[in-house]
């Protein structure tokens, strides 16, 4: 079996039960939030548009938080890395607010010209 000698001896460690349990718990939370979103979508009537949007956006941020912090492990990284990823997102939030506001103003103008 000489030709197998280049395969290294690898020590396999036992599963980290606490960590795996945390990952499944995170998955459970994500699924519960998604189901909650569906319940909101079919129980709160469309007349309460702003309330619906507020809940959906809030739930999305919570889900994104769990994915980035737990699944992508960002919570456990060094603070410098953590903030260099999160701070640039401020510009995205600003851009979103500015452009949606712009869009609403554009629709007002279109409406008046009709």
């Amino acid at each position: 079996m000489a030709h197998h000698s280049h395969e290294p001896e690898v020590v396999v460690l036992p599963p980290d039960k606490a960590k795996i349990a945390l990952l499944w718990k995170t998955a459970g939370i994500l699924l519960v939030i998604t189901i909650f979103e569906f319940i909101i979508a079919f129980t709160i009537p469309h007349e309460y548009h702003n309330l619906r949007v507020a809940i959906f956006v809030g739930m999305t941020i919570v889900k994104a938080g769990y994915i980035v912090l737990e699944f992508m492990h960002l919570r456990y990284e060094v603070k410098v890395l953590f903030w260099s990823i999160l701070i640039p997102m401020v510009f995205v939030v600003w851009m979103l607010v500015a452009f949606v506001y712009e869009g609403i103003k554009m629709s007002d103008i279109n409406f008046l010209s009709k």
Binding site: H6, E7, P8, V10, V11, V12, L13, P14, P15, D16, K19, I20, L23, W24, T26, A27, L30, L31, T34, E37, F38, A41, F42, P45, H46, H49, R52, V53, F56, V57, M59, T60, K63, A64, I67, V68, E70, F71, M72, E77, V78, V80, L81, S84, I85, P88, M89, V92, M95, L96, F99, V100, E102, G103, I104, M106, S107, N110, F111
Partner: protein
Amino acid sequence: MGASYGKLMMWFFLLSDAFTFSGLLITYGLVRSSHKAYPGLVEKFEFSTAYWPVPEKVFDSVPFLHGVELPLVFVGIMTFVLIMSSVTMVLAVEAGHRMDKKAVEKWMLWTLLGGITFLSCQAWEWTHFIVGSDTPTKVKYFVDGAWITKDIFGANLHVNQYGPQDFADFFFFITGFHGFHVFSGVLFNFLIYYNTVTGVYNRRGHYEMVEKVGLYWHFVDLVWVFVFTFFYLV
């Protein structure tokens, strides 16, 4: 910054990719809020190019259940599939930390299955969107100085039975760009699986590549969370 060069660069690539997706989604927000919203009762909703459609009235079909109105159910299944494949990916990363080749192989296969399932669902979703509903929408066009009315089924980049043309264009661009990310993610995942099976990472002494591609795969899931909310729910 306490992370290896490769992981750091993956993070900054994902940050720039997040800007690209933000650009698409924010433009969608701008165009959508500049269109008139549907004014009437949702129960009486009909397709028209005069206002932005209510998304749950557009995406209300499930394969093999023709004619049954099941709003957002299929896209809910797609969301579930993608979240689950994110979980199996993170379990593959965990197994990689322990040098457990067999477990990495198992979880990478589940992740691949999830990715391929999601892509297949999206193929069906696109086909349904392009082919359209049983009854056409009458759309007015200004041709050669006169208004004509045409029966329109489905949508592409030129016509759209569901609402304003922009709605279909954004659907194709946003879900298409995301779907392309899923597709390349599946290719990367297969590469990781192949290298694991052939023992590349055992010889290298670490499974960091699983972690790096894992970051990319979670990012694809992350983007879908936003697409799901802003395109299908709101």
